[in-house]
Each structure stands twice: as C-alpha cells, then as structure tokens.
Amino acid sequence: MLIFVFMKRYFSSSPISHGFIYVLLLCAACALPRSSFCQSRPSGLELAYLGNNIWNPGLKISLNAELPPDSLKTAKGNRKSLQKSHRLDVGFFADPGAYRGLFVNAGWQRKAIYPNRYFISWTANPLGLFRSFLHDTYAVSPAGEISRVFLPGRLYFAPSFQAGLGRISKKDPGRSYFARLNMIILMPYNTFVMPLLQVEVGCAFPLK
C-alpha cells in the first residue's frame, strides 16, 4: 500500500505516468526478442478456471518453458527441487453486469517441489496487457454530439503476480493440479491504478 501511495504522489495526474509506462513497454519490446525468453521451448500447458473477484468466471491458458532445475536441502534434510520456467499466460473473464476482460502476460515462475509431490509456486509477469470490453458505450463530445463506440473498452499495461500451491500426479509425473492467487495491476486506470484479485484452479499437462 505504501508503494501505491508513493506512486500516486509522484506519478498520478501527470503525463509522466503515461509516458513512463509506454517507455517501459517499448524497452521490453526491444529487449524481448534477444532474451532467453523467446529462445526457450514450451514444455508444458496449463488450463485453469479463473475467477476474477472469485465469482466472475473466466479461463486461463498458460505455456511453460522449463529451465534446468536446481536442488536444495529442506529443513528436515530432504531434498526439494527448484524448477524455474518462462511463462506466457492468456486469459479472459466476464463480469456479467459490467465488462469482460482479456489479458496476456509474460514472465517467470519458480516452483519448489517437495518429495511428497506437493509444490508451491510464485510467478512474476512484468509484461502484460489487459483489454476491457464494455457493454453498449456511447461517447458524448464536449459539444454534446453522441456517437456509438465501436468495440468499446480500454487497454491497460498489466503486470501481474501469482502465488500458489499444487500437487504432481502420482500416475503421470508430467501432470499436476494447482490453485493460485493472482493479482493483475491495471495502469493507468482512472487517475492511477487498479488491482484485480483472481483465483485460479487448474491442471498442467506436458507438451510432447
């Protein structure tokens, strides 16, 4: 919350905030093709129910590109493996009374896998775009002229963060089940930002 207050103080209500975000996106777009991100090969697919505000239904599909794992000792002396991967998420949800949202995120995930096949994961997606789709929208100009807006909605820069837990299937080690908590931050939203809280429940499949 303190970070939000700081950002509100220095970035809101000035063109700097919009410029800052577009420069960030431009830098990311330039750096991405040369990064290891685009050179990694997808190794897993995730399908999940996405609940924006829990009960606004949606769907999320993610591609995972796993990197070589690390292994660490747990407090009890067991070994847990640390799996790192690159991710690309595409999802949407419907808030039936108000709007529908479509988003795409890219970033990194770390997964700590324990010997009992349970795992915890945390993800940072610094790159993201969100498009809202609104119901019938009419624009009223300062002169009072009214026109219907085609494909009404707004595009936002939308980095996201996730934390979750899950379990790897006993029969098929490539398959797993998980539950996660997501936060997507839409910016600039009104005069500042808007966090969206989401839950997701789904399963992961290996890509052969």
């Binding site: 009960w55 239904p57 529908r100 929208t137 009072g144």
Partner: protein, 342 residues
C-alpha cells in the same frame, strides 16, 4: 486432455454468449456505458421502459450506483419507472484514463449532464427525466442543475440528505449531536451515554475539530441504533449488491484513490449562494437523526431554493439513509412527486 478442452470450450461459449436481457414487455435490465472526458462510466438501467419516466440516481461518497438497488427500489420504483443507477467518474466500476482535473465537481456535473443527453438520445426526447442525489450525490445533482440548459431537460429534482454547504457542515453536525443528546436525555434513554456525548460535543470547536466531530457523529449513530431509536439498515440484499453484483475490490480501490468530497472540502465548496437559480420542482428529504448531513442543513438549503414548486419531507425514524430506514414513506413521497410532474 481432449475432454478437458471440450469442457473449457463449452464454458467459454457460455460466457461469451451471455448478454443483456431485454424483455419485450418494456421491462429493461441493461448496462449502458457513458464515455465522457476520458472516463467510461456504467449506468445500470432497470425498470419499466413503457412508463417513459427515468429516475437517475447519483450515489453518495464512497458508495456505488447499485447500492440503492434493493427493497423498495426494485418492488416499487422499478415497477413504475426506469431507475438509472450510475457509477460516477472514478467510482466503483467506472474506468478510463484521465488526469486529475482542476475543477473536479464541474467535470463530474458535466458527466451527469452528458448522461441525461445520452438517455434522451437513446430512449427518445419525449421521456421524463428526474434527477435524484443522495448525500454527496445531492450536492453533485445540485451542481449539475446549475449548468446552462440542464434544468430544461428535467422534470424534477430529488435531494436526499444532500450536503450543500461544506464550510457549514461541522457546526451543523455539532449542533445536531447536542440537540439529539438533549432529546434522548429528556426521554430517559441511555442517559449516561448521551450525557457523555453531549459534553464532548460542547467542548469541540467546529473550526478546528472537524475529525473529532465526525468521530462523535459516528458514535451518536451507533448509540441511536443501540437505543433502537433508528433501525439497523444492513440487509442480506445490500450485502449481495456490494459483494456479488458489484466488484468490492474495484469499489474500494476506486474510492481510496478518488474522493471528490475531499476536493469539495479542500475548496470549501458551497451551493447555498446558487440554489436560488434552481427553479425546477424539487423534493428535499432528510432524516431527523442525521448527524452526517443534519436536517437543519437541509432546511437551510431548502430556504435558499429558487423553486416555487417544492416540498420538504422529514423522516422521523431515520439517520442518513431514509430510503432504507423508512422505505414505505420514502417510496410514497417519491412516487407522489414524480407522478405530479412527469
């Protein structure tokens, strides 16, 4: 894998095919967005379109349009008119990109003016429009009426517990707390608690103790409910609107970052000097026990009003939300007013 995909595709199709229901009998349930000056603001329309009478509701500070949509609003008002529940700029589900304006109230009033134009454009120039504002929405509705040409597009103004004069609010709150305390003591209700509240109120300075007066007002409201002088208004229907029908995260975060009342307070906003320019038929409704916007502040605004056709209604068992605490009387007064002028 294939089965899972099929299930997800079926879910996707279901969600995408969901749409706004509109029954042929004239009953409408529709969300309409207004795009104006960088903001996209939803107006939720529910009710009887055959009546050709639209009641535009402006919510109070920290609230949201659909907060009003329960009880009597559904059973009485939506049966007879179309009720337009509007999320104001920067509030609840309103979205967009824009910088903080220099004159926020003027911009928000121009949003309401644009909404009135949009309703006439969509549903015909012959519809009857009534503007109703509660608390902060009362002030915003008053500011809207002062914009050139707006009064001509409306049939009437309903001001519910509207705060019209920010500089005088603290003194009016302090006075009403003392008055209510004296009244409760005389009636032998929670004498000790009310004596303490009264004594604390006497010691406060309206010029410098604004926050303390508000805290004392909150304590007075709790005491009034504890004494059963006024009934509690939180219902399961209201909770449903707040948590399920509306997005509570959007609502609260929007309010945290966008508080037009703070701006109004900062600039000592007052409509008292301008209310004489309002000649529209007007209905003022205030709660006798309202310590947030005292009935005396409402009476002062009413005396300054330019309208010849006007009525002031006091609700004797209400604090700040007479539509929740005395819904039958509220609905009767409102319908009588609308039916007289539509």
């Amino acid at each position: 894998m294939k089965n899972s995909l099929r299930i997800w595709i079926a879910c996707l199709a279901g969600i995408l095919l969901s749409c706004n229901p509109e029954s042929p009998s004239g009953e409408i349930h529709k969300t309409l967005y207004l795009r104006h000056a960088g903001a996209d603001m939803p107006a939720y329309l529910h009710g009887n379109a055959d009546s050709k009478t639209f009641l535009v509701v402006l919510h109070g500070a920290g609230s949201f349009g659909l907060a009003f949509r329960d009880g009597m609003f559904i059973s009485d008002l939506e049966e007879n008119y179309v009720v337009v529940y509007f999320d104001q700029r920067g509030q609840s589900m309103a979205q967009g990109h824009y910088n903080t304006p220099e004159d926020l109230i003027d911009l928000m009033a121009s949003d309401v003016e644009a909404l009135l134009k949009l309703l006439k454009h969509t549903y015909g120039e012959d519809i009857s429009l009534f503007l109703m504002g509660h608390s902060w929405g009362g002030l915003l509705s008053g500011a809207t009426l002062l914009r050139p040409g707006v009064q001509a597009s409306l049939k009437g103004w309903i001001n519910v517990s509207g705060l019209m004069d920010l500089p005088g609010a603290s003194l009016a709150r302090k006075d009403i707390i003392q008055t209510i305390a004296e009244e409760q003591i005389a009636l032998d209700i929670s004498v000790e608690a009310w004596q303490q509240i009264r004594d604390e109120a006497i010691g406060l300075n309206p010029e410098s103790d604004d926050t303390e007066i508000l805290k004392l007002a909150a304590r007075s409201m709790s005491q009034l409910i504890a004494d059963e002088t006024v009934r509690r208004t939180v219902s399961s229907e209201k909770l449903y609107r707040a948590l399920i029908d509306n997005n509570p995260v959007n609502w609260q975060v929007s309010w945290f970052f966008n508080q037009p009342v703070a701006y109004a307070k900062e600039v000592d906003y007052s409509l008292l000097g301008s209310l004489s320019q309002i000649s529209l038929p007007s209905l003022f409704m205030y709660g006798k026990y309202d310590v947030s916007v005292p009935v005396t502040a409402g009476e002062l605004a009413y005396l300054n009003l330019g309208s010849q056709e006007r009525k002031f209604v006091r609700f004797d068992a209400s604090i700040h939300h007479p539509h929740d605490t005395e819904p039958i009387k509220f609905s009767e007064e409102l319908r009588l007013f609308i039916n007289s002028y539509r």
